[in-house]
Each structure stands twice: as C-alpha cells, then as structure tokens.
Amino acid sequence: MAYDWQPLILTLKLATVTTAILFLIAVPLAYWLAFGRFRLKAAVEALVAMPLVLPPSVLGFYLLLAFSPKNAFGRFLDETFGLRLVFSFEGLVVASVVFSLPFMVHPVQSGFQNLPRSLTEAAYTLGLSRWKTLTRILLPNIKPSLLAGAVISFAHTIGEFGVVLMIGGSIPGVTRVASIAIYDEVESLNYDAANFYAFVLFALSFSILLAVFFINKRALGPH
C-alpha cells in the first residue's frame, strides 16, 4: 500500500517555518533578557518559560479563543489582514512559535550570559556600535547555542500534538501534520499507516537529537 507522505511534508514545513520565525524573534528577545535591566524582567522570563510547564491544551485553548473571529482580536486580524488563524496553517505556525519559544530563547540567552562581559566592553571601547558588537562579536561567539536552540525548536515542533489539535484540527494538506495523522490512523485502526508515520518521526527525532549532542560535545571539547 502506498503511504501518504503529505502529513510528514506538512510537519517538516511547519517545523522549518516555525524555526525560522523563532530565530528572528528569539535572538533580540534573548539579548534583551540577557543584558537588559528593567522592572518586570522576572515576569517576562516567566512568561517565556510558561510553555515548558503548561499543558499544550491550555495554550491551544486560549489561542483558539483569541484567534476566533467571534472575538475582538480574531475579528481584528480577519478584517484588517484577512487572516484567519483558526484551522489554518498560519495559525499552526503562530501557535508553534509561542509553544517552542523557550526552547529557542533559553539556550541563546544563556549563551549571551556566559560570554565574558569584557568582550562587549572591549568592543565598545574599540568604537564598535551595539549592532556591530552583536553581529560581529557576540553572535559568532555563541554559535553552538544558536545551533542548539534552532535544532531543539525544530525537533520540538515536530513533536507537537495538543496545540496543533486544538487550533488546527485535522484538515488534510492544511493542518493534518504527522502527529495528528498517527492519532487518526490509530482511531480508524490503520495500524500499518500509523506505524509508518510513527517510525519516520521516531527516526527523525533521534537523528536530530544525536546531532545536537554531537555538536555540544564538539563545542565543549578541547580547542
């Protein structure tokens, strides 16, 4: 029997787009949390870490309420941008970004914090602007953290289930990612198809995590 690859491709697409967007959001956020001094910093940090402890269904439920065209925010998105985030791929991306935020922010933030303060100060006394200090000095020196954050966010997005189910449902080709497909196939007693998706996800996740540990070992090894 020929397997339907679509859910797997959708999963990879979702993970790639999510990771790319996360990267752009998390680097400035991590920089702000690592070096900024402001009130309510603890609150922001707690908020970023929330997806680590919340059941995905809680997050999914509130996102569903927020994105629903029946509510102010959802209506605003719909009327202003023509964007319907409920039961759509775009909605999945937004939910995944929120859900995987700590997995990207935490490694990058601790990467920034572990750099000696004198590197930034040396850059400033040598006349480098903040932007140049960030792009030429700080980011190149936390490459292992950036890579770890990106890879783990990618892997984490692949493993999502609850949030996706809440906000995306199971529309083939739109929101039916591999993890949802497994659930559906098992429900209709198609163990063979479920096994196919499950095995691919298993192998994929294992290789990604293996790569992370390999990278970390090299980064921590002797120079």
């Binding site: 000696p116 004198s118 590197l119 100060e121 040396a122 850059a123 400033y124 006394t125 040598l126 006349g127 480098l128 602007s129 030429r136 000095i137 190149p140 020196n141 120079h223």
Partner: protein, 302 residues
C-alpha cells in the same frame, strides 16, 4: 591632556567605599594608580573609558569633555577614543589576530598602520592565529596592539601583566615602555606591583580606601628622596641570618634572590617580608626599608 575628578560609591567586600580621586596627566606621561586591590583603581579607568558612570565629577581629555555631571555630558565609550587593555585581554575568540586589530581600526581601514603595529609588537607571524591558540604573553601583545590600532588619545592598562609569569612580565614591561615612548602615548596604568610601578611610571598615585594618599615620582613616593643612587632595586626580604656583628639578608628582586650584608643599625626595623630598597652608592651598598603604605606616615612628605 587629562583632567579628572570623580566621586563614586563602591560596594566592595569590605563594605561601602567612596572613591574620590583627582588627577591630571600631561601628554606622553606614564601615570600609575597604585594600591591594594579593591580600592577603586580599576573603577577609575572604567569611568574614563565610559564603561562605568561616576556619581559626580568631570573628565576631560585634550580639551574635550567626556563626562561632566553638572552639565549632563556623558559621551558613550564608542566615541571616547581610549585604548583599554583589559586584565583578561578580552580578545575576540572568533577573530584571528589580524582581524582583532583590524576591527579596531575604524574606517577607512589603514592596512599599512596595521602592518606597522604587527611588526612593532613582533606578532607578525601570529596574524592568522586565533587568540585561544596563543600563550599569555602573546595574547598580551595582541591586546596592546589592538588598543593602539584604535589610535587612542589615551592608553588605559588595567593590571596588564598580572596574569603572566616573572620572566614574561619583565620582557613585556620593557615592551610597554618602548611602545609608550614610541607613540608618546599618555598612559594610565593600574598596578599593585611595586617593581612594575618603579620601572614604568613617570608619576604614581597611591590610592587607599578610595582616596589619594600620596602622589609624585615613584622614587619620591616610595623611597627616600635624599638618596640619588647609581643602582637602585626594590625587593622583598626572604630571610635574615645573624652573622657575628652583621646580618646576611636574602632579598627577592624580580625573580632572583640576592644576598647582601647589612649592619645591625640598618636592620633595626627590617623584618622578613618587608619591602626594601637596595642602593649601590660608591660601591657601598645601603639597605633601607621601603614604605609600602606611604600614606600612613612620613612627616617629611606632604
């Protein structure tokens, strides 16, 4: 050239200390801030560089005001044109030696000056290496060269040699002196090494508990100004052995131990661990105690 007066409250391990310093330096002068660690010497350098903000005061360099609390002026570090050599060197690990210097050049990149610096500091053959592959002494040279690549108006050295072994230290002291003379660079160094202060500085400012307690030429501040010895070394007494009517002293000078004879009269207030000055005058060595804390005594100095 440099005029500075600043006040800042510091929270140190020994409680709150108020740093209160005034100093001036002329172009080309080598000035040292001397004192035990944790009394605000480094903070003073950081204030000049713009890395730390003083509570009160004014900092002016070459007629340009960098900081003035009453006028609300606080120029960012990027615009202050200082060459700051950090205690841990702070070389950029992702950049080669040459790139470390190059990034400090500003625009347009003056590659000829860069080559000149590499030659001058004798690090030409290291230019492609990454900082982590260099020895401590080599990193120090690169850090100094990078500070100069900025074409600073003022060189700030924060205990630049404290992490190095004795021999490397002495070689680099000569190097620093040579470079400083070559560029006639106004230099402010922080140190708690007496020998270093003696060898390098034109003037020394002794800081204790956040305040200036003595200032002047090193020989004036630490030694007895009446003596104009032909040879003069400072060292630390390691051992005292009575020997009939005289004493044999073992003294550590730099990284060498020297033995000298002293009379009972000279020995009156000298103990093991004291810093002493050895002066050879008309082939008749004299030994006398050096005051490590010049602020505490000496009515002869004002």
């Amino acid at each position: 050239m440099l005029e500075l007066s600043l006040r800042k409250n510091l929270h140190t391990a020994e409680g709150n200390v108020t740093l209160d310093i005034e100093l001036e330096a002329e172009t080309g002068q080598f000035l040292t801030l001397f004192g035990r660690s944790g009394v605000g010497k480094t903070t003073c350098l950081r204030c000049i560089a713009g890395l730390t903000e003083p509570d009160h005061g004014r900092i002016a360099v070459g007629g340009e005001i960098w900081f003035d609390r009453t006028k609300g002026i606080d120029i960012p570090p990027q615009k202050r044109r200082v060459g700051f050599v950090f205690q841990d060197y702070a070389l950029f690990p992702n950049l080669s030696v040459r790139e470390n210097l190059r990034i400090a050049l500003g625009d347009p990149k003056d590659e000829r000056y860069l080559d000149e610096l590499l030659e001058l500091m004798d690090i030409r053959e290291l230019e492609r290496r990454l900082p982590t592959t260099l020895s401590g002494g080599q990193q120090q040279r690169v850090a100094l060269a990078r500070a100069l690549a900025r074409r600073p108006r003022l060189l700030l050295l924060d205990e630049p040699l404290s992490a190095l072994d004795g021999e490397t230290r002495q070689r680099l002291q000569n190097e620093i002196l040579r470079i400083q003379r070559h560029f006639r660079m106004t230099t402010l160094m922080v140190s708690h090494d007496l020998g270093e202060v003696y060898r390098l500085s034109d003037r020394v400012i002794v800081i204790e508990g956040g305040r200036t307690v003595a200032r002047g030429r090193p020989a004036e501040v630490f030694g007895n100004r009446r003596i104009s010895g032909k040879f003069r070394f400072t060292g630390e007494v390691l051992a005292i052995e009575p020997n009939d009517v005289v004493f044999t002293l073992s003294i550590l000078i730099g990284n060498r131990v020297v033995q000298v004879i002293a009379t009972a009269q000279e020995m009156r207030d000298i103990q093991v661990g004291d810093a002493v000055m050895l002066v050879s005058k008309a082939f008749n060595p004299l030994v006398m105690k050096v005051d490590r804390n010049p602020g505490r005594l000496s009515p002869s100095r004002s």
